[in-house]
């Protein structure tokens, strides 16, 4: 499965700008992820081949970083902060409300593939706690309330 041309050129540019193939590995993964939401085995293998590294080497890097997703991610991504400050401001109740609404736990994707819910910390939104980061553009939002989940879900695209 060949990589789309804009990703190929993006990776080549990263290699040139970041000082080599190794340094560009993470950027290559980010480019794929930004375009497609996640990095599949096929995309990983294609990127490795383009870079001239082995799939083991690229996956070793990919699986280290929490924000590189190696499983399919819904078009609507909700990253709820579960750090201490958000906890103090009611993040647990928000999480429970989202879990109840979507029917999935953190780490899962809805059966129709639309929403993926993840717990992360800390998102640098402590003054807007409880905070969340939404979508591929990683939009910071907050404070989120348990009775305001609709807005959250709508914004997650």
């Amino acid at each position: 499965m060949t990589l789309p041309p804009e990703i190929v050129s993006g990776i080549r540019r990263a290699v040139a700008e970041h000082g080599g193939v190794r340094a560009a590995m993470l950027e290559a993964l980010r480019l794929i992820q930004h375009a497609e939401g996640w990095v599949s085995d096929a995309r990983l293998a294609a990127a490795a081949e383009l870079l001239g590294v082995t799939t083991a080497e690229l996956d070793s890097v990919a699986t280290f970083y929490s924000m590189i997703f190696r499983r399919p991610v819904g078009a609507r991504l909700i990253l709820l902060c579960d750090g201490a400050v958000c906890h103090l401001n009611g993040a647990d109740a928000v999480r429970d409300a989202v879990v109840a609404r979507l029917g999935i736990n953190p780490g899962e994707t809805t059966a129709d593939g639309t929403y993926t819910l993840l717990s992360i910390a800390c998102v640098g939104g402590c003054d807007r706690a409880p905070a969340a980061v939404l979508g591929r553009d990683r939009k910071l939002t907050g404070p989120v309330f348990p009775d305001n989940i609709d807005a959250l879900l709508a914004d997650a695209g």
Binding site: D41, V53, T54, A56, E57, D59, S60, T63, F64
Partner: protein, 882 residues
């Protein structure tokens, strides 16, 4: 430079510039550790080597430091037994036990497991962790290694060895935190030919020898014996483990100048051929099995009127010599082509001529510039290729040192070294596994490789040379402190070997020359003397109807020479007698077949590429006698005494072949005794004698005796550090039962064994008797154009299979690559051949698929050795589509 420090109250004088862990170990102080390794340096991951350090006497408390990550400094006071440090070490074990499963009872590492040893040493006993352990799925990693990731303690040794030391790229670490995972990106065969070392590198039971895993036993039930690998000319030292008459496992036996801590997979999984179904255990006369005594009687008859002997480059000196004495020196030949026999004799002469030093693997590792002419080391002498990979890191280490980074800080050195590589100039005919570490990699046909070498030699002598690469190479080698030149018999090209020697000579005494013949006793046979198979056949055919019998020693001649020549041998000889441990094409054709012991069932001395004579011993009592013993029964009095033992053969060898006289001292004689008696193969807690096996049989009986060595088959005798290195029966010591215990046997970490590394040199540089030493046979200078339609056939070597010994090991056979015919795309197109297609070679179908590679020079056809069919002088062949 030396400094004084105090360890546990004892003042010692130690080398500056080292880490505390190595220093403590070198002074006999056992500091627990996991992630540190003598060949891999310090990384500080496991945190087990905690000791308490006080920088001056006024510091009452001291601080806990990791010994492996702390440099030695004058005036340090270190306490290993300090309660602060001991408590922390126990906690490290407790943390590792959080996820480690309760597998000991069913784990094949048990009893020889470093994690077990460290756990016992730490004093941690009771599990407080009451939650769920993290678990992993295992991967299929190929035929050699098991994978049991739940046991992993994340010491990172596997990736550090596989990637950092061996250059492998398909094993890595994945994930983070407590979920770190060591494996491949997906299930599949581990590609590196050194992957088997993971079984010893892993301190717990994640990676195990798969053959072992299927039939494992506990170490206290195993007999361990020192042996020498028969699978190539490097002569790595092995420890063979036996139980109930079966060879169970091969492990590395440390040798400071040869294999160090590591083996290649061919040597680790090859020796299990001794348990293959293809073993010969019954004498045969033309198809029919016969009783051994009858067979011997028949043999005496066959040999009565004249016989020639065909010796073997994979058989011991004793075996070859017995045959030589039996038939007489003028009737003794070597079972390889004349080309090879002449080439290896020439190699021995060149090594002796000097002035360059003869390179050991240790010298290869420490070279600061290397030129490899023609030899695919990874295929012909894999462990030597691994040594060369370490040499390339020299420049990185030098830059790191210039920046003030401690040499023992493995990662710091790699980072500070900025990826620099010591020069490695590689000239091969086909793409080579070492291309990825070479600083200059050139593809040339064999005559161009020889020409390049001669150009380099000429440039070194100050003569004008046109080739820019050759000039550059000469400059690089001239500037090096320890330049290395490598060549071998891989292409059976004499000109290449001469060129290599010429370069070494031009460099002088500071250079090291490594010449690799094909097999474990090629040099031994060369020193013994004897022409090749072509000459044998000529002699047989010349005798017409008075042709003598031919006695063939331990070799499949069809794998070592032109099959047509071998056929002529069988046709011309009056009768043929073959002695071997394995059924081969040769034994199938011989009139009389006598089964003999394999290398693992008899003591024997072989001579490696350096000219080092080393002795291996019987690892299990053999059902068949050693071939030299069988030969001595054919003529009583062959070795002056009734019932000769190995030492008697060696005495006779010294008389008849003075060049090999020193071989007798390769190991202590059979009457050598330690203060504790013989050297015991079985460990002290050996229960094998009175334990019943799975079928309920008690295998007790009078222990067999071993007249050929000072070893005993029982547990009575000397063990461990009490044993001289050449007889070593494992490094285990009280409290240390795993391969990690080897540090106790070293004079210093990474250095020679106490008492000296085993083996005795038979080739001494400068001791020049031969008249032909100074005569350089003429070689063609300049590149020969290779016109079509025939192509020059070159063998493509493979790390896993070279001879019938490897083929007989089921595990190695699984790793043999599919037979292939490699062509340059343009040549293929011109011949009408396409990728994946089948071809005829000189009209005969080839069992090989066509592969296209534009890295192969035009005019060459690469044939994998199995497809090649035979080992012989370089020749041209006509290829066409099938």
């Amino acid at each position: 430079m030396k400094v004084e420090i105090e360890i546990d109250g004892r003042t010692v004088t130690v080398d500056a510039g080292k880490d505390l862990l190595s220093t403590c170990l070198e002074h006999g102080v056992d500091v627990p550790h996991f992630c540190w390794h003598g060949a891999l340096g310090s990384v500080g991951a496991c945190r087990l080597c905690a000791v308490t350090v006080r920088d001056d006497p006024h510091d009452a408390v001291g601080r806990v430091e990791m010994a492996c990550m702390t440099g030695v400094a004058a005036g340090q006071h270190i306490r290993v037994d300090d309660p602060q440090a001991a408590e922390f070490r126990a906690r490290v074990i407790e943390w590792l036990m959080v996820n480690h499963p309760h597998d000991c009872a069913v784990c094949e590492a048990g009893g020889a497991c470093h994690l077990q040893d460290m756990t016992v040493q730490s004093g941690h006993r009771t599990r407080r962790f009451r939650f769920r352990k993290r678990t992993h799925r295992n991967q299929y990693l190929g035929p050699f290694l098991t994978h049991e990731m739940n046991r992993c303690i994340a010491c990172y040794r596997c990736t550090r060895f596989y990637r950092g030391y061996a250059g492998g790229r398909d094993l890595d670490v994945f994930g983070s935190g407590e979920r770190v995972y060591f494996g491949r990106a997906a299930d599949g065969v581990l590609e590196s030919p050194f992957a088997g070392n993971l079984a010893e590198v892993c301190p717990t039971g994640v990676f195990n020898d798969k053959g072992w895993s299927q039939h494992y036993a506990r170490p206290w039930d195993l007999r361990l014996t020192a042996s020498i690998c028969p699978h190539c000319a490097v002569g790595c030292n092995l420890t063979l483990a036996e139980r109930h008459g079966k060879l169970r496992r091969v492990e590395n036996r440390y040798h400071g100048a040869i294999n160090g801590h590591f083996l290649c997979d061919r040597g680790r999984f090859g020796p299990l051929f001794v348990e293959a179904a293809a073993r010969l255990d019954v004498a045969r006369h033309r198809e029919a099995p016969i009783d051994l005594q009858a067979a011997l009687a028949l043999a005496r008859t066959m040999l009565a009127d004249d016989a020639i002997g065909i010796g073997s480059v994979r058989a011991s000196l004793e075996a070859n010599f017995a045959l030589r004495r039996l038939v007489g020196p003028e009737r003794f030949f070597i079972g390889v082509s004349d080309t090879e026999a002449v080439l290896v004799r020439r190699m021995a002469t060149l090594l002796r001529r000097g002035p360059s030093r003869i390179a050991s693997l240790e010298a290869i590792e420490t070279a600061d510039a290397a030129l490899v002419l023609g030899e695919d080391l990874t295929g012909t002498a894999p462990r030597a290729a691994l040594a060369l990979r370490q040499a390339v890191r020299g420049a990185e280490k030098a830059l790191a040192a210039a920046k003030g980074v401690a040499a023992w800080l493995d990662e710091g050195v790699r980072v500070a070294g900025e990826g620099r590589r010591s020069p490695l100039i590689l000239l091969t005919a086909a793409p080579d596994a070492l291309d990825e570490v070479a600083t200059l990699s050139l593809r040339r046909n064999p005559s161009a490789i020889a020409a390049f070498g001669l150009d380099v030699a000429a440039a070194l002598r100050g003569e004008p040379v046109a080739d820019a690469d050759a000039n550059a190479t000469a400059r690089i080698l001239a500037a090096a402190h320890a330049p290395l030149v490598v060549a071998g018999a891989g292409l059976l090209d004499a000109a290449i070997v001469e060129a290599a020697a010429a370069v070494a000579t031009a460099l002088g005494a500071r250079a090291a020359l490594a010449l690799f013949p094909t097999e474990c006793n090629s040099i031994g046979c060369a020193l013994m003397g004897g022409d090749g198979l072509d000459s044998a056949v000529t002699a047989l055919e010349g005798a017409g109807e008075h042709a003598p019998a031919a006695m063939i020693l331990e070799a499949d001649l069809y794998a070592r020479a032109d099959p047509a020549v071998v056929d002529r041998l069988f046709a011309a000889a009056a009768t043929t007698i073959a002695l071997d441990c394995l059924a081969t094409r040769t034994t199938a054709r011989a009139d009389l077949v006598l089964p003999v012991a394999s290398f693992a069932e008899a003591a024997g001395t072989t001579v490696n590429h350096e000219g080092r004579a080393q002795r291996g011993f019987a690892a299990r009592p053999g059902r068949m006698p050693a071939s030299w013993r069988l030969l001595s029964e054919l003529r009583p009095g062959l070795f002056a005494v009734d019932a000769p033992a190995l030492d008697d053969v060696l005495v006779a060898l010294a008389q008849d072949c003075p060049a090999l006289a020193a071989a007798a001292s390769a190991a202590p004689h059979a009457d050598f005794r330690t203060p504790y008696g013989r050297v015991a193969r079985a460990p002290q807690p050996f229960s094998g004698r009175t334990a019943s096996d799975a079928a309920g049989r008690t295998v007790d009986g009078t222990p067999p005796s071993d007249p050929d060595s000072p070893l005993s088959w029982s547990m009575e005798g000397a063990h461990g550090v009490q044993v001289p290195a050449a007889l070593a029966t494992g490094a285990a010591a009280p409290g240390e039962h795993s391969p990690y215990a080897v540090w106790r046997a070293q004079t210093r970490i990474g250095g020679p064994l106490r008492g000296g590394d085993p083996g005795v040199p038979l080739i001494v540089v400068g001791a020049l008797p031969d008249d032909d030493a100074n005569v350089i046979p003429p070689v063609s200078v300049g590149v020969q154009e290779i016109p079509g339609p025939t192509l020059l056939l070159i063998p493509l070597h493979d790390p896993f299979t070279a001879t019938e010994l490897d083929g007989a090991s089921a595990l190695l056979a699984e790793r043999a690559p599919a037979p292939r015919l490699v062509l340059h795309p343009a040549d293929a197109a011109a011949l009408g051949l396409s990728a994946g297609g089948a071809a005829l070679l000189d009209g005969v179908p080839l069992a090989a698929r066509v592969l296209l590679d534009d890295g192969l020079p035009r005019g060459l056809a690469g044939l994998s050795t199995v497809a090649f069919g035979r080992r012989g002088p370089p020749r041209r062949g006509r290829l066409e589509p099938a």
